[in-house]
Amino acid sequence: MFGKLFLKEWKEKISLFIFPFIGMLIFVVVFLSYPSQKFEVMEYLTGVMLLIFLPLTALLLGASGFQSEFKDGAWAYLFSRPIKKWKIWTIKYFSQITILLSILMILRLIIFILAGLKEGMKTSNFYIDTIGNTYMFYICLLLSFCAFTISFSISFLYEKQFIILLVSILIGSGLAFVSYKYFVFLEPFYLYEPGLVGFYIFIALSFVAASILTFIKSDFSQMGKRIWLFSKFLLFFLVISFSLGTILALNIGHEYISSLHKYEGNVYFDTDKGIFRYVPEVDKVERIAKSVSIGQPRSIRAGKVAFIKYGRRFENEELWIMNTDGSQKNCLVRIGNVKDSPFYDSWLDTYILSQDAKKIAFITSKYDKQINDWRSTLWWINSDGTGLKGKILDFPYNAFKLQLIAWPEFGNSLFILLRNYPQKILKFNLESGTHQLVAENLALPLKIQIPPTQNLIAFLQRGKVRQEILSVLDLRTLEKKEVYEADSIDRFVWSNNGDKMAFLAGGNELIVYNLLEDSIKKIEELNYAEPRWYVHDFEFVLNDKKIVVSDEINGEFYLKIFGEGFSEEKQLKIPFHHKDGKPYIWGLNNIVLVQNSEKDELWRVNLDTEEWRKIYH
């Protein structure tokens, strides 16, 4: 029965193939007649085909869904057969949607072939985006699915196809617009596409549900009642869809874990859901702030956490401060779209808490039309929100690339990193407003490591013959010491007490520098990382007496622990697979946190019991 009805639908709709066929023919002709160099035109054309033409075809197909039943008056005939109405509906739907899918597949094939025919196209963005990525195809698929479903669902309500077409376009675009706005309202920070896709699918399914129910229950001889019944059902299901969509939007997110900071024995991190911290004493993860932007570095000092919260549609950024347990949240300043404020039309670049967390400093930039460039201002304010002061920075440097790296408790000075070439570190005196150069010739990666004591910073500098030098700068005396020189220094970390530093030199040598003794000790020759940026991560653990290294052996990942004499003591197998190189780790005395960035999970292992546990996902 199904086979016969399926075939019936295909035979009926065969004449509709003409429209897409002609469209594709025109597309091919135009495509081939344009010279190869005009990639933008190709992109545009393909975009039109995928994003406009095909959904239009879908609309037409859907609107003609029940056309033959109307034309031949076959309703009474069909309903007098011993076949359930919902079966009639669903068989029709699936038969016709397979027609749509085959048209899409043919189009995709054509595009593929055409792109291959054009010389030099394979390296263009068009090829990568359209063919390689399949991103546009999925959008096309989604649009076509929704367009078809909506118009099909209402096509049995009225016999004039044209009206159906019009109504589906109106309703479809109206709902798409409304749900987009609603979605943005729910998730103002960024658009989580799968969530919005989910929304659209829910809406399309509402149409399906309302359509099938109306089809089954309504009296076919009374059109007015039919439409009314459908509207009631549709409203009901749309309400459910929006509720489900709301739940979906508020509860799913990238869950991308970023910005992990160690501070006083706890680890702080953030995801779409907010700021969290892991407390080893209770072996638990708790949320201390809800729903903040991600990827913003945080400053954690003296029991306080500073963070940024984005306003609607990124129109403004707010600088907040709270205790490390999440209490006493306070918004200090709002930067951006706030009228009558010194921060109007400005952007927040970087911020830092003073070492005693009594003050916070931040830099904003604003585009100045008079000088045709960006202008930066350094501000500082008390942690209770009082005493805002600011100073325009007249560095002749691109403002965006400034980063505040340290604000030690002495001297009322800030240390600023200039990330643009040539990279420099400056010391800025808040009272006098003057600055002095403290270090230059920095090498990449531009990572400045500060020990918990915060009186030193470690960084890399370039040597004479393209070598890299690991340097340590005393912030009080401004004395610089060159600790080690090698072809490459890939990673360096301070110990938890701040008296030792471990680094990877030459790609495979794990070396420890003892600050107090001023000694260098080579620990181990690790395997070369392949490729180079998949470098081992290592941390000091267990009262800084041991080092734990993440390593890979034959595709499996391990934590290697190097003990007192710094000989390899233990190997702990990491209970998950990781594609992007060795996972990042953080050492907290006897606990090591391991991040599975593929699945956005955080694991911890207890070095004494060797017990693994997933603490966040």
């Binding site: 029965m1 086979g3 016969k4 009805l5 019936k8 035979k11 009926e12 033959s68 034309k71 031949d72 008056g73 076959a74 309703w75 009474a76 005939y77 309903f79 007098s80 057969r81 011993p82 076949i83 359930k84 109405k85 089954i216 229950k217 009296d219 076919f220 001889s221 009374q222």
Partner: protein, 291 residues
């Protein structure tokens, strides 16, 4: 179980217009039922409700003593349906239509279908849109009969068809009857040929059945009396059930239902000079009942 279909208190309105009200009907297995009614009085509505095409507002329908709900479909496997203006998918070939239907009905008899096709000189490859009205009627008959139905419901299928084709159609129905003992519900406003084949007469008027009797009984009880009076004709007749009165000078023609001896006596008392009794055709009967 001798009742194949029973309808209890069926009601249906379209908007404010009440088409059927407290309608009752029962069909016994194996009999031929004639359902007469004027156009627009609800015959098609009734049949569409029986066939589950539209829902009723109130009331119940039972098929073989089992209640049918609006979306039940299993009973339809045993019911053949020939509507007025057999609508099909006009782009299909006859073969395709038959194939499609064969998948719906478990008892589909394709041999029978082929036999009928040959008898009607219909080619399987013909497209339905190219068939004449008469051919479509025949095709509708084939589809209905090839499913080996136990109940055959016809909704005025022969209106607009020429007489010879109508007669052929009826002959085929009769042939089917002989072989299978199918119960037949024949609804129409074309009354003429029905007289010879119906066993039970139902007349639908004003939303319910005003006549629902064995046909022979109705015929026996319906009389046309023609009286000629010498002198003046009586103004009034003290007799119940006069359906129609025609006057022509001294001649009066009365249609009386139901007839009994008492009424005969009363009329005789009026001493007509001349007295004649005639039977009524079904057509005349129908007209009298519905006007």
């Amino acid at each position: 179980m001798s009742e194949i279909l029973r309808i209890n208190n069926l009601s249906k309105s379209f908007g404010r217009k009440k088409v059927l009200e407290n309608f009752n009907m029962a069909l016994e297995k194996g009999k031929v039922y004639g359902l007469l009614g004027k156009n627009g009085e609800g015959k098609t509505t009734l049949i569409q409700m029986i066939m589950g095409i539209i829902p009723s507002d109130k009331g119940e329908i039972f098929y073989k003593d089992e209640k049918i709900k609006f979306n039940d479909t299993s009973y339809k496997k045993e019911v053949g349906y020939i509507p007025e203006d057999s609508f099909f998918f006009s782009w299909m070939k006859i073969k395709e239509l038959l194939d499609l239907n064969s998948s719906f009905y478990p008892k589909w008899n394709s041999k029978k279908a082929d036999e009928y096709l040959e008898r009607f000189s219909l080619d399987k490859k013909m497209r339905i849109r190219h068939l004449s009205r008469g051919m479509k009627l025949k095709l509708g008959l084939i589809v209905a009969l090839a499913s080996e139905p136990e109940l055959l419901v016809l909704d005025d299928p022969t209106s607009g068809i020429d007489v010879p084709t109508r007669q052929d159609f009826l002959k085929d129905i009769i042939r089917e009857l002989c072989e299978a003992g199918t119960t037949i519900l024949f609804s129409t406003h074309l009354v003429h040929e029905l007289e010879r084949i119906i066993e039970h007469l139902s007349i639908l008027h004003g939303g319910y059945l005003i006549i629902d009797e064995d046909y022979q009984m109705v015929r026996n009880l319906a009389k046309k009396v023609r009286m000629t009076f010498e002198n003046s004709t009586p103004k009034k007749f003290d007799v119940e059930g006069i359906l129609r009165e025609k006057k022509e000078g001294n001649r009066i023609e009365l249609v009386i239902y139901p007839w009994d001896e008492g009424k005969k006596k009363k009329l005789e008392e009026l001493s007509p000079a001349h007295w004649e009794m005639e039977p009524l055709t079904l057509e005349e009967l129908f007209v009298c009942f519905v006007s």
